[in-house]
């Protein structure tokens, strides 16, 4: 119900500014982008799709920030793991 799916905007409606088409893994669906009228959407933008409406524009920067933070965490983890292994062996 609260299901939201990220999709890439590939097309905008000609007659109806509220209509657009998103693509998700090669699958297209017509959605309503009226809730993001002031976001200046353009093809290539990603939006979160909920019950046929784009609810939010997805920020790649913010996503990347989270992933980067995780990477750092991961590196720390791997280092610690390596340290642990080294100590085990040693």
């Amino acid at each position: 119900m609260c299901l939201g799916i990220p999709g890439e905007l590939v097309e905008f409606g000609k007659d109806d500014a509220e209509l657009a088409v998103v693509e998700i893994s090669g699958v297209r669906r017509r959605i309503n982008v009226g809730l993001l009228a002031d976001e200046g959407l353009k093809p290539g933008d990603w939006v979160l799709v909920h019950v046929g409406f784009a609810l939010s524009k997805i920020s790649e920067d913010e996503a990347q920030a989270v992933l980067d933070a995780l990477k750092e965490l991961g590196q720390q983890y791997e280092e610690e793991l390596d340290a642990l292994r080294a100590s085990d062996v040693g």
Binding site: L3, I5, I24, S25, G26, V27, R28, R29, R30, V49
Partner: protein, 357 residues
């Protein structure tokens, strides 16, 4: 009276002519058992399915049983829409029954076909369907040897329903049984899953979704025969993953064998489009029907060999080992997620995708 006699003779000649269906739409008369029914049978069904066993058009067909054991199966097909990317109700009806026989380890031999037609159904569509059936039967090496036609009033069906039954002969010395599955066995699927269900759902156009997915409908007897030839004693059980999908089939196996089946999510082959459709609609591809894929449970020691055999067949190019059988928890199917967790994969509840076959 001589002229009258000439006229009578001419009428007799006309009556013996090859019957022609003139109507464009099916009427109740086509189901009444009289002339229109005969004309339909001869001009459409017999034309499409012609073979020596069918030709007498008797109450049934006479066969010659040729094996120690014989398999017998039936399925009704009510798919909506009748035509969809990759197939139609006709080849579905043939392949579905061919596959059920194949899953029994039998060589499919003969099919029956019962048609329930809705008044007003276009005869052109019926011809298209029977042509598909004939082609599918030819491809599967089976003959349609007996049949029946009923017509119901408009609004009492949905164009065309087909029930096929099949008999096949078990010629290989195999013992297939879900109950024979044991811990250590490997679970193999013959190709990417969910294509058929996804294709039919998109063809229905209820959700405004577009994607290029085609049904996987195909006859599996040949690839199964190769697998059984290679590993007659190592194949435990075979199931085509139709309604309810792979999840449902494996639950049946887990339950019959009192084992646990553990799948690896990242090993399950799913096309990206099918994944996309499932995400959009909140479905799980494990529950989406295939019509040309099967699950084989094989002795774990011979899993790679089985995989090689399958991948060597055009219908098994996408085959994959998707999991293995454990002793506990009995009767459950579990999935190791790509993420690293574990969850139950239960039998389908409810009806996310009705009328897919």
């Amino acid at each position: 009276m001589n002229r009258e006699r000439q006229v009578l003779a001419r009428i007799e000649r006309v009556r013996r002519r090859k019957p022609v269906v003139r109507e464009e739409l099916i009427t109740l008369a086509h189901g009444a058992g009289g002339k229109a029914t005969h004309t339909l049978i001869e001009a459409v069904f017999l034309e499409a399915f012609r073979n020596p066993l069918l030709e007498p058009l008797g109450d049934g067909a006479l066969l010659a049983p040729a094996a120690e054991r014989m398999a017998f199966t039936t399925d009704s097909f009510v798919v909506s829409p009748l035509f969809f990317p990759g197939g139609d109700i006709g080849d579905l009806a043939v392949n579905g029954t061919v596959n059920d026989l194949a899953m029994c380890g039998a060589r499919p031999a003969h099919l029956s076909a019962g048609f329930i037609l809705e008044e007003g159904f276009p005869v052109a569509d019926l011809r298209r369907i029977t042509a598909s059936m004939a082609a599918a039967a030819e491809a599967a090496g089976v003959t349609i040897v007996t049949g029946d036609t009923k017509v119901v009033q408009r609004g009492k069906a949905d164009g065309c329903y087909i029930t096929t039954s099949g008999v096949g002969y078990v010629e290989q010395p195999v013992t297939l049984s879900a109950a024979g599955v044991r811990p250590g066995d490997a679970v193999i699927v013959s190709g990417s899953i969910g294509d058929h269900g996804a294709a039919v759902m998109l063809a229905r156009d209820d959700y405004g979704i577009e994607a290029s997915v085609a049904s996987d409908t195909a006859p599996l007897h040949d690839i199964v025969a190769e697998l059984l030839k290679a590993l007659p004693e190592q194949v435990r059980t075979l199931r085509d993953a139709t309604r309810g999908g792979v999840a449902t089939v494996l639950n049946e196996v887990a339950s019959a064998s009192e084992t646990a089946i553990v799948l690896r999510e990242d090993a399950v082959p799913v096309r990206p489009e099918v994944t996309g459709i499932c995400e959009l609609l909140g479905l799980d591809p494990l529950y989406v029907a295939c019509e040309g894929r099967f699950v084989a449970v094989v002795d774990g020691a011979h899993a790679d060999q089985a995989l090689d055999v399958l991948r060597g067949h055009p219908l098994g190019a996408g085959a994959a080992i998707i999991g293995s059988v454990a002793a506990d928890p009995q009767g459950l199917v579990l999935l190791r997620t790509s993420f690293g967790g574990t969850r139950v994969v239960d039998v389908l509840v409810g009806d996310p995708l009705p009328r897919i076959c």
